[in-house]
């Protein structure tokens, strides 16, 4: 224990820094980004001399664990935007240029660690903005710490939906923002998308993970379809999120004879589940949260041939990982590779969200003339529009990002795409 204490003493020499120009933050240097993502390493930046100070952006993400591809994609978007904004001269606050720096921590998809990370980011690093955690458990653990200090958080946590859409929002959620649409609005759009790309689907089966995200989406689909959307829900199967063998669940789904299976939210297992669905012939079509062209390619590689099934990807952003001839999407994928020195993940559409959010934040800070007064930043952020990689997006007064949704239909390698603009905000 003495040895541990000695180590603790050593690591404790980093003084808490609540200011704007802390010396122990990560550089936005692309060359250090990988190390930063995994270790949260810190280092000074040469460019800091050109700026009046630094604006720390915290990233508390699930960089290891079941939703790692989503979290890594989220980080890619943040770091890409940060690199570009700094390259373009930084953020103009009151006539002075400030540099964005990211302070990255991996919560390992562990709620207790997420809270510890939040304590560090808020109290030791003095960040005013935290991207992530994307999942529910981590976000719920972080919110009590961040809301008490007025720190803005951006998460894809589906449980944010209710408080953000309530008339009288809980103070716990006053500084909480969603990285995308409210799930209800998103799925209303998705069902409209599905009707365009796969009109022959009349019945649906849901394969939901047993975590908060999976169960939340299963409940939502159940309630939406009960309202008479047109699709009939035939079966809902719940699987342990860390399960590798889907045979019992897919076998029962096959017995339901649904036209399409919707899987949520084991995104890291999309390929494996898709492969098992094809092998068991569980349904004519596979639809999954975060299913992209990369998923399809992975299944084809695993099978050694094109599947007979139709693959449907419901995306709240672009399918960056697939060459579909859209210049802006290809550009984003190319930038991630060139600037950050790493390939986009299979969930790179999330990068588009966080990329766009960082630009919106920079603009809101410039408009508010501050990077510390989060109330002023929020006031500027709400309603601020930005036309970017997947069309026009903006934050609503309820703190969710209104944006278009799109869906891919992949059949024999051919892609059909349906894009629906953002629903009107009430």
């Amino acid at each position: 224990l003495l040895a541990l204490l000695a180590v603790a003493c050593g690591s404790g020499t980093t003084e808490p820094d609540s200011g704007d120009a802390g010396g122990d933050t990560e550089a936005a240097d692309p060359a250090t980004s990988d190390a930063a993502a995994t270790e949260g390493s810190e280092g000074d930046t040469e460019e800091a001399e050109e700026f009046a100070g630094q604006i720390k952006i915290g990233a508390n993400l699930e960089l290891t664990g079941p939703i790692q591809p989503l979290a890594q994609a989220g980080l890619d978007g943040v770091e890409l935007a940060v690199a570009e904004i700094n390259e373009a001269g930084g953020v103009d606050i009151g006539g002075e240029a400030y540099e964005f720096v990211t302070v990255v921590r991996d919560d390992q998809a562990d709620a207790a660690r997420s809270a510890t990370n939040a304590q560090e980011l808020v109290r030791d690093e003095g960040v005013k903005v935290i991207i992530g955690p994307l999942g529910t458990a981590g976000n719920q653990a972080q919110l009590p710490i961040t809301s008490a200090e007025g720190v803005m958080t951006f998460s894809n946590d589906p449980t944010l939906d209710k408080p953000l859409s309530d008339d009288e929002a809980d103070p716990l959620y006053e500084y909480a923002f969603k990285t995308q649409e409210l799930a209800r609005r998103l799925f209303e759009n998705y069902f409209a998308n599905l009707d365009q790309v796969y009109p022959e689907a009349k019945t649906l089966a849901v394969l939901a993970s047993d975590d908060a995200s999976g169960q939340g989406v299963a409940t939502l689909i159940d309630s939406l379809l009960a309202e008479g959307d047109g699709l009939e829900l035939l079966a809902t199967e719940t699987f342990p999120i860390d399960a590798a063998d889907m045979t019992p669940f897919l076998t029962r789904i096959r017995e339901s004879e649904a036209d399409i299976v919707y899987q949520c939210c084991a995104v890291a297992q999309n390929v494996a589940i898709g492969q098992q669905l094809v092998e068991l012939d569980a349904a004519p079509a596979y639809w999954a949260a975060g299913l992209t062209g990369a998923t399809y390619t992975g299944v084809v590689e695993a099978l050694g041939s094109d599947p007979e099934q139709i693959f449907v990807g419901a995306l709240s952003g672009p399918d960056v990982g697939m060459d579909v001839g859209d210049e802006r999407r290809e550009e984003l994928a190319q930038k991630i590779t060139e600037v950050l020195g790493r390939e986009p993940t299979s969930q790179a559409f999330v990068s588009a969200h966080t990329y766009q959010i960082m630009y919106l934040l920079a603009e809101a800070m410039e408009m508010a003339g501050t990077f510390e007064d989060t109330d002023a930043i929020i006031e500027s952020l709400i309603g601020l529009e930005r036309d970017d990689i997947y069309g026009t997006a903006f934050y609503t007064p309820q703190h969710f990002l209104a944006h278009p949704s799109e869906m891919l239909r992949i059949e024999d390698g051919e892609v059909t795409r349906a894009v629906i603009p953002a629903l009107p905000v009430e």
Partner: protein, 359 residues
């Protein structure tokens, strides 16, 4: 009994007295070494884990019973705290009492069927109950929020006008409860209950034949252990505030068992030292969950096979404080047997065999 504990510490041989004082003082001095909020938050978790380890130690060390249901009992305590604060706006102290009471009651309910079994069956049954409790927390959505969990932010705990409104203050509150767990273990060890538990651990059949009410003894120990687990869970909620059922995985118990083994199963301070070590280790080494599991497995093997006395015994041996047993020296008879000589009969060894009726 508290006096007896203090007296026992003071009566101990000098090196051990120093050792005991150091063991108790180290966690108190820990915040001096923690310059960041992050490490302070980890220390808070360490203190709560220590209390949970003491809860498990009551049945694991004294009774030789490995209960995996404690992951669920810790969850019961945490959700009791969250729900009583949310719905009744209960203050910390009555909520803690309620969490302890509910932990004890649920432990008894689990214990009644589980103590009808032993060994691996006991382990499996408690695992099933632990999973059932976690399942209940996950599926009773109207009460617990289901997989989405609950976020309940209560006012900072306070006592006699003193508010625990910083991480350091909260740490000392949690540490006080960890010491309460230590005291509880000490008292159990000194009591008739502890002696009965030890007798059961060594040979349950013999203990029963000697008149020890084994079922009642185990149930009483389980209730005490459940109450402590309930308090640990409730304190975890006070610190964490956001709860999800995944936090109360039965496998969590295995890492706490490792903490006990790491610290030293036979030592009163073992759970305390083991819990802090195990909480800080992944943090200081920057281990991923996979690396942590690998490291835990390796540590378990090393400590069970090579250092069964845990860190404390290893440390005291290194410092030359521990009892050193003389090297094994077989008797001349044993050496002869080892050399191949025939084993001497009982009569040769002087035993008198008496036959006939009992007088």
């Amino acid at each position: 009994m508290t006096r007896a504990w203090v007296a026992a510490v003071l009566r101990a041989p000098s090196p051990h007295r120093i050792g005991a004082i150091v063991m108790l003082a180290l966690p108190v001095l820990l915040p001096l070494a923690l310059g960041t909020s992050r490490l302070q938050a980890v220390a808070v978790l360490g203190a709560i884990t220590a209390l949970f380890a003491y809860s498990l130690n009551v049945v694991f060390h004294y009774g030789g019973l490995l209960s995996v249901a404690h992951g669920g009992l810790w969850g019961v305590g945490a959700y009791t705290m969250a729900l009583t604060v949310k719905h009744w706006d209960l203050a910390l102290w009555p909520a803690l009492l309620l969490a302890a009471a509910l932990g004890a009651v649920v432990a008894v309910l689990i214990g009644i069927p589980s103590f009808r079994t032993a060994g691996i069956y006991f382990l499996v049954l408690t695992f099933a109950f632990g999973e059932f409790l976690r399942f209940l927390l996950q599926e009773w959505r109207s009460l617990t929020g289901g997989p989405n969990g609950l976020v309940v932010v209560a006012e900072d705990p306070s006592l006699l006008g003193f508010t625990f409104d910083s991480l350091t203050r909260l740490y000392f509150l949690m540490l006080a409860f960890a010491y309460l767990g230590l005291l509880c273990n000490f008292l159990v060890g000194r009591s008739r209950l502890g002696r009965r538990l030890l007798a059961i651990r060594e040979d349950e059949t013999l203990a029963r034949a000697s008149g020890v009410p084994t079922f009642r003894t185990k149930l009483t120990a389980f209730a005490i252990s459940g109450a402590l687990a309930g308090i640990a869970g409730a304190l975890f909620q006070v610190h964490q505030r956001g709860l999800t059922p995944t936090l109360f995985d039965p496998f969590l118990v295995l890492s706490v068992v490792l903490a006990i083994i790491l610290g030293g199963t036979g030592s009163l301070y073992g759970p305390l030292i083991g819990a802090f070590t195990l909480t800080f280790l992944p943090e200081l080494l920057g281990l991923s969950p996979e690396d942590s599991r690998l490291a835990y497995g390796a540590l378990l093997v090393v400590f069970v096979l090579v250092l069964p006395g845990g860190i404390l015994v290893a440390g005291s041996r290194l410092a030359g404080l521990g009892r050193r047993h003389p090297p094994y020296s077989p008797s001349p008879e044993a050496r002869a047997v080892d050399a191949g000589a025939p084993r001497p009969s009982m009569a040769d060894r002087g035993a008198e065999i008496v036959t006939g009726e009992r007088p």
